[in-house]
Symmetry: C2
Subunit: 231 residues, 2 copies
DNA sequence: TCGCAGCGTTAGATTGATCTAACAAAAGCC
DNA sequence: GGCTTTTGTTAGATCAATCTAACGCTGCGA
């Protein structure tokens, strides 16, 4: 149906719009960096995808998904996250090993397979990194969340996801003793260098803003990310 | 490491030598038919694989595997058969649906994944079609077997494998009520057109030689394929 | 033993995905 | 508003895998 490469472009656009940035269009350079290819390559590919009716685009403009492109991209993300869940839950891989393998598995083409895998895993809603798994019809439950970096002092949060899937980040996360669903409290933010002092599992730790901005949290009491009236 | 395509060539050579024909070399045309490409394409690829030290070959000669090529090809077959087992045993696919999906899964590159999958499945020795699954070190248990087509009258056989993975064959096999491990007896072979009359599960059926030559059997009593002294 | 059918090769073209280098447009800044 | 930086495009090349068409070997059978 669609090539390995085309699928990767659509998946990346989904990731950069629907998921990461909360906007609905993305520039050619941003895409090139994300896909680790040169901008010239993206320009070519983007013309091809437009010709196929999968994206909206015009010379020197930004790229956004058409309805069809969005569905295909979401389907790849769905497969990726289901396979990650399989690798983690069934094959007992550490969560810092699963991303690269899922990059390959996500391109296996068989909706029957995807749906049976989904059932085999018990229709999970979130993958091991806490990210929402799109459903077969392309719908997603986007949890209302904020970055730990944006936490306000004294409020109690619950970690629900991480946004960096690199081995380095995930290993550091593990080594600190953190886990998805842990409760964490931000004590003080250092205005000079942005370091955060946090409290979790009775331990007090100092973390960098770079680390904190890859951790998603919700209010531990009401589950909402917005400043709430819980405390 | 090796491209999708290179892996497919090596896998096919393994299949046509180690498994199907019991010889150790294969011609360019035979390979071209098997891979569904033109002979000219095979000639090119074969030069490339020779340059990489994966096969033995010279102009106008036949192709055979080097030790390294054999290992890589067997690794692909191993992955294919493990995935088929997964699809059948865990995801409950019918055995006529699994081949095409496994064709895609077999190219996922991660020995860690392959070995964990192997363990998850309980280290199976045979896939759902009854074919031996090569082990991680490249060793294989080749069962001593013969084709149902070559069965002698009155002896009792046990079906251990099939050699045609096409949907048409497998569906017919199912519809007749046959199963791997069923016991079957050849009653009469019609000398004129080769039709076979067989008996299994108390049913008597007439089958074509084309059908019978895709079914592997062993002696039901001693497990050996050779004419034995059991009866 | 010789000719021809079948097997295998070569040359040249195509397609998809990528690159580099040079250029063009848009955005940002004073 | 004009200069500079950032962003994006174009042209032309490369590489892998494939094709077609034409040609070169080889071995079997008469």
């Amino acid at each position: 149906m669609f090539s390995f490469t085309e699928e990767n472009y659509l998946k990346s656009i989904v990731q950069l719009t629907v998921f990461e940035e909360g906007v609905d269009e993305v520039g050619v350079n941003r895409l090139a960096v994300y896909l680790d290819v040169k901008p010239a390559t993206v320009t070519d590919m983007v013309k091809k995808l437009k010709a196929k009716g999968l994206i909206n685009y015009q010379r020197y403009g930004k790229v956004s998904l058409t309805e069809e492109g969005r569905l295909i991209g979401l389907r790849v993300v769905r497969k990726h996250r289901l396979w990650e869940t399989f690798l983690h839950d069934k094959l007992k891989f550490n969560w810092d090993q699963i991303h690269e393998i899922a990059e390959q598995l996500e391109h296996v083409n068989s909706s029957e397979l995807t749906n049976r895998l989904d059932a085999f895993l018990g229709f999970p809603e979130f993958d091991p990194h806490g990210d929402a798994i799109p459903r077969a019809d392309g719908s997603i439950t986007m949890p209302y969340r904020k970055l730990l970096n944006e936490a306000v002092p004294d409020q109690l949060y619950r970690i629900i996801a991480v946004s960096d899937n690199s081995n380095e980040f995930l290993r550091l996360f593990d080594e600190m003793g953190l886990n998805i669903n842990d409760e964490v409290q931000m004590l003080v933010r250092n205005d000079y260098d942005g370091l955060l002092h946090i409290l979790f599992n009775g331990k007090e730790r100092t973390i960098s803003p770079k680390f904190a901005e890859n951790i998603y949290v919700v209010c531990a009491k009401c589950g909402k990310a917005k400043a709430c009236n819980c405390n």
